[in-house]
């Protein structure tokens, strides 16, 4: 018989918590991160609405947030987290730092994807008199779509890694289960089973990403 200290309810709850945290912070992170990336690309020197100020401010902000170790970020923004969700602990509270952590990361990855768009396409857009918004919506994003999907996939997997640390504020989740029960309490069964679940998660997300990207790339 397997000797373990956790119940299947705890396990299911952890899975639910991970999905909860990842899905919401991914959504919010993308909502912030993608526009951030777009802003970086269009305001960068030589971009369609080149703007030294916006680029010069956004770029270091992203770097600053990306510099801070997640656990420090988590604590540093507690006042802000409380303002948003009313508490600094629990799954919902973890979503705030997770979002702040993942948004600039998504921003950077998506920026890299957008930079790969053939400059001739942007030229065509400009020749049609497209507004910056239209260039982004009808040209930049659709053309980068395949690469963008892969970037978001990479970010999602990074996010799953970060949720493991969100256990510090009692957010729970599979990664936390692995650390608190598996690692700290020498429960090999927990380690192995949580890692299997994580692998399934990651493999699923990656496969979905690959399929969508291949479709978008049409090859």
């Amino acid at each position: 018989m397997i000797s373990t200290s956790i119940t299947s309810d705890q396990f299911m709850l952890a899975i639910y918590q991970t999905i909860h945290m990842v899905s919401i912070s991914l959504l919010l992170g993308s909502i912030i991160g993608i526009p951030l990336a777009v802003l970086l690309v269009v305001t960068k020197p030589g971009g369609v609405i080149e703007n030294k100020w916006i680029y010069g401010i956004l770029n270091p902000i992203i770097n600053i947030i990306r510099s801070v170790p997640f656990i420090i970020l988590l604590v540093a923004i507690i006042p802000f987290t409380k303002l948003i969700v009313g508490t600094s602990i629990g799954t919902s509270a973890a979503i705030v730092p997770l979002t702040i952590y993942i948004a600039p990361y998504i921003g950077r990855l998506v920026e890299n994807s957008l930079l790969e768009v053939n400059p001739g396409i942007i030229e065509a857009a400009e020749a049609m008199g497209a507004t910056p918004y239209q260039i982004i919506r009808y040209f930049l994003l659709p053309e980068a779509y395949g690469s963008l999907i892969l970037s978001i996939t990479t970010a999602t997997i990074g996010l799953i890694g970060a949720t493991a640390m969100a256990g510090a504020v009692g957010a729970g989740g599979i990664g936390d289960l692995a650390i608190v029960y598996g690692y700290q309490r020498f429960d090999t069964f927990v380690v192995v089973s949580t890692v299997i679940v994580l692998v399934i998660f990651v493999q699923g997300i990656q496969s979905l990403g690959n399929v969508l990207a291949r479709k978008a790339r049409r090859n």
Binding site: G120, I121, M128, G129, A130, P142, N219
Partner: protein, 340 residues
Amino acid sequence: MIELKNITKVYKRKNTSITALKNVDLKIEKGEIFGVIGYSGAGKSTLIRLVNYLEKPTEGQVIIEGTDLSSYTTNQLREKKKDIGMIFQHFNLLESKTVFDNVALPLVLSKRKKQEINERVNELLSFVGLEDKAKNYPNELSGGQKQRVGIARALASNPSILLCDEATSALDPQTTDSILNLLKKINEEYNITMLIITHEMDVVKQICHKVAVMEKGEIIEQGPVIELFGNPQHPTTKSFVRTVIKNEIPNRVKQAIKTGENHRLLRLDFMNQSTSEPVINEMIESIGVKINILYANTTEIQEALLVTMIVQLEAEALQLDEAVRFLEKNHVVVKEVRSS
């Protein structure tokens, strides 16, 4: 009306800089089809990209319908560009969108109704012969098909200025013909101004009213097509004209040339009325020279005809002089040709 005033364009690199255009002056009247020819690298693409400010001039002004583009606000410039269609040398199609969606783009940008977009796009696609490729993606198209999508896209929003950078270079002669006829029709019906970059002299011949010849960033000659073709001045222009109006004696012909006092090798240029009169026949009958037509070429430049012949006349010296006088009286341009 498009006017380029004393344009210079310099591309800067780390240590060198390339002057792609040098003191270019150009004026294209409303409704005119203006061709630009020149060797590869002469600066033609650079020139056309200035007209919709894809490239800003290093010096000089681009004036469209009386307004210097540099005086426009960004928004005004955008509005202006909506009225200028452009066909790119490298197509620049969106790989992520179907043929239909690529062509629909300018209409979507102008927020046209869906119904209207559908109609217009289908009309254009059937025009360029790609109805059955509407749902395909660019990477499933042949080179010429891609170019036709680019053409349809440039025409979608009924622009009043059309810029074509090698718009038919990937097309077979029949498709080229049908596209050129379309352009001509549009030009006539809607009085669209067109600037056409090409290296195909046939294109110039078929639809351009005026033509400019570029070399090393400069316009070396310009004027109405018929004049430039009939009487090219600059060696480069001559060399371009020669590719449509051949006037060299083919090798095989050279072997048939007889030399001597009683023979004369002449180049005859027939223009306008002289082409339809039986000039040669009359010369034979009235003067009694023997003629051998070694080479003949007819070029149609829109409605005008230009016929060049290389002939060998055989008769007594006096008669030969008389024959030349006769031809010249009948509006034929006569030039002596050296046989070697």
